[in-house]
Symmetry: C2
Subunit: 267 residues, 2 copies
Amino acid sequence: MDKIRSRSSARVTEPRQGAQAIRRALSVLRILAAGRENGVPLAEVVQVTGLTRPTVHRIVHVLIEEGIVERHDRTGRYAIGNQVPELALARPRPSPLLVAAGPSLRRASAEIGDTLFLTVRTGNDTLCVDRRIGAYPIQVLSIEVGARRPLGVSSAGVAILAALPAPDARKIVTANEKRFEGYRTDVATVLGEITAARRLGYGMREIGLVQGTKSISTWIKTPDGRPAAAMTVSAVRTRLGPRREQEVAEILLRETRAIEQAIRASA
Amino acid sequence: MDKIRSRSSARVTEPRQGAQAIRRALSVLRILAAGRENGVPLAEVVQVTGLTRPTVHRIVHVLIEEGIVERHDRTGRYAIGNQVPELALARPRPSPLLVAAGPSLRRASAEIGDTLFLTVRTGNDTLCVDRRIGAYPIQVLSIEVGARRPLGVSSAGVAILAALPAPDARKIVTANEKRFEGYRTDVATVLGEITAARRLGYGMREIGLVQGTKSISTWIKTPDGRPAAAMTVSAVRTRLGPRREQEVAEILLRETRAIEQAIRASA
DNA sequence: GCGTTGTTGTCCATATTATGGACAAAATAC
DNA sequence: GTATTTTGTCCATAATATGGACAACAACGC
């Protein structure tokens, strides 16, 4: 581990010590969260976190005893346990972002007709928090609410990274290096996509995570200038030619501004 | 800490070591969860967990850095952070219990007309996971979905304790001793209520948590005989005289059996 | 059946990490 | 203004978490 002193951007009080084990447990949890209901095999957690197997094993089993993690008997995979949603109930139900974005998502979805996603950043991951299905008969539904992927592998992730200060983005991308393999991409490619997104004003992937799909993402910023989320349209590639890409991007950018306004209003 | 070897009931593999810090962090989290949106002052966490202040302080602040806990600027209280619901999204949305209980809650609510609660046990707490408002114009709405209290202070808690093996119940009650003060009760009173509930077949509190209310709770068991939840009716005391208590209890017991059947069917 | 490979699980000596007593600084009450 | 309560920090020390090495088990091939 490296001792980082100060960041050029906002917060300066980052590195607090005396809780290595807790931090490790949390990074394990985040990997498990990426596995959703199916969970993740121990070996993969070891691989991705870079911790040793005994350590991961110990952490995971303590968390099982505590009800935070479950182990699927049949597959032996580890997954987020039911105590996590129970803890989550402590918070008021709909997040301010979802409230602020609701009307815009409805409008954009009606207007565009393809599947719309709202994705937030959580640590080094993107997390899909809302999805609206459009009227067009062919819809890209592969990504579900709750889906979690390393920042950088989806157009939403690229958009969010593009909206971050370059050094921060770079740091996240390199931190995710190990996890990129599973998505057939790498640090250089992602950095290239980020640069392209900055130039374009929105994130775009000709080759979506699903074969034959294309995605366009805009970034949504909080009043302090930090990216809060991304709004994404995914569709079969043939439906998003250059002309329509332009059209869709304009709608997304318009609604993005509306959401940013709504956030400001609610704060 | 004591070294428990074996339990008379089910699980025998309980005490795994090498993760004190993680367990402590989790017990802190559970206390914070009880504080809901408002959170809990540090001193209270210290008092209830029995940990030292430096330790709690360290844990809480690491969790803040990780996004698991938030500190409300104005009050200085600590609360569950937004990363917890994000992790929770990894699990499929409606819990099997909620699905199984849904129709029964609807029926019972329509029939009784007073507020109905579904409460689960989570560790040493009860957690309200569903609430149905009845048709009668005066409703007891003080307990909200997500509300968390020490097992023993509500009629639902008493019901769940009554359904547990006596030694387990006793252990939980003594573990909660410190927290009872805040609810104007104590170990002896709670143990008495549990015994009474076992005799009656359902839990009952003449003096509810809210002045002038009365509650009746039945316990719901999983196929293996462990209590999974409690179903509760709360109403102003005058509306629950001896005759109607009897009536309501019978409806609850009937629907309880229906839920138990539904759980068996879904397993 | 019996090696082979790829998992997961366990042990324990050791160094690293988390601990908590004591002290300090805010915030709040008086 | 001082007293009191609450939160925050330090650091020497002991207890805790660590990970190398080994073991058990499962899945596959033949």
